[in-house]
Subunit: 295 residues, 2 copies
Amino acid sequence: MPFLDELSNTADEIDVLLGRLMPVESAPAKRVIEAMRYASIGQGKRLRPFLVCESAKLFDVERPHALRTGAALECIHCYSLVHDDLPAMDDDDLRRGKPTTHIAFDEAAAILAGDGLLTFAFEILASPETHPDAAVRSDLVGQLAIAAGAAGMVGGQMLDLEAEARESHDLDEIITLQGMKTGALFRFACEAGAILAAAGSQERSALSTYADRIGLAFQIADDVLDQESTPEQLGKQTQKDAEAGKATFIDLLGLDGAKARAHQLVDEACAALDVFGNRAGILREAALFIVERKN
Amino acid sequence: MPFLDELSNTADEIDVLLGRLMPVESAPAKRVIEAMRYASIGQGKRLRPFLVCESAKLFDVERPHALRTGAALECIHCYSLVHDDLPAMDDDDLRRGKPTTHIAFDEAAAILAGDGLLTFAFEILASPETHPDAAVRSDLVGQLAIAAGAAGMVGGQMLDLEAEARESHDLDEIITLQGMKTGALFRFACEAGAILAAAGSQERSALSTYADRIGLAFQIADDVLDQESTPEQLGKQTQKDAEAGKATFIDLLGLDGAKARAHQLVDEACAALDVFGNRAGILREAALFIVERKN
């Protein structure tokens, strides 16, 4: 199956690249590099870097440029997991079947490893190795910072924590929240190919629509998995959100309604790719994978 | 006194700019913006942005470009204070005479506000408003990320925490540690003017030497202040480092030796500015201020 092979190949390449970019031996502060590597290498589906690489293929972007952009994005995603897992936040001991970073190291090292990964993402993007055109690099930095910041992922996590304290939630609220917390990085991932190619607004807009739909579908699928899986299958605690009083799509749509909505979003995502014709086959498979995955 | 007036003017301008860049009203996640503003606006000497602005004056860089670069650097500095003050790190309740961010808000908001400020620094730098030349913006992003990351400030904080656990410390170790933890951001501050002007290596190197010397002098002066001041004078707890078993310059050089070394570093810093002749008068005053300040 070409999609799963491609996903797995990209994950391997991202691991090799992150390993090369974060050498321990030459580092003056080895412990923080070890914690950064622990939090970012050898785990996860690497869905976001994969989306970067596949969107880049639509425009024949050079593979090393796409991989470095994907690695930077993955540093942001992994830092957010490290900080979200902290005792003061979601307080999780297990992530992808391994002890979370603050358990494997300690809280201070986890906070610093998260800060280090977040900072490193921008160091990667600003390097001429990521793209020879400084205007492209600057655009990547600006767009990723907006996606990851207070109007995007960080703000979404804040809203998520605040939502625990409230009794009732409506669908618009949870869509806004998840669009910031999860959707913003998906949007960057899918638009990154267009940014790397300095593509036009029509193509960028098509990728942005695709990203919005799969981002929301991803989060709905997460809620469904959380409901239907065991901790062993997911490699993390399940049904914590419901216990914590957090809003889930299943509360609002029901289990069947949530599944139906996720599939409708996949259809919309695929339709947005029509502008790319046959070239977007793997991105269409990716959309379906997002709602049919088992972890 | 022109130096103190200039320092105070720059601090005011940075406050106005940060206030304008982080509006609460239009933010979807208001609480994290409020915490970011609490942690970054209306306090501090703004020494780092001041050094950016003064180094920029040497090359006739436009004031708004220097101010935005200084504001980005201050976001990094302020985020590092928020995270360093957390219970899992230095566990401080008081900063600049005010409750620290995790006391005024809560730990989760403080972690997210730090993440938000760190991310926002790069959003500011990547904007064409900071500089019309994308190569300059990309250079600013890359250099700030290196200074703030695991080989710079974040790594220095890790080494600082690790140093608590050890019995003995030597001077080289503490100079390396402080060069990363404090020195790296000073270096960026002083080189930023040269980056903004795309100046030559001789001028950049002179500013780098100046920055190294004042960075170290700043840290020695901090240890001296910590020893000789009351919590009321400093607006934070004093003599925590010594109690925690952290290495200080006073342990290694004695109080008089530390003061003498700080003044020697100021002389070296001023000598490095000879290449700029009379134009660097305020930077020379800044070097002296760093060792003679009372808080």
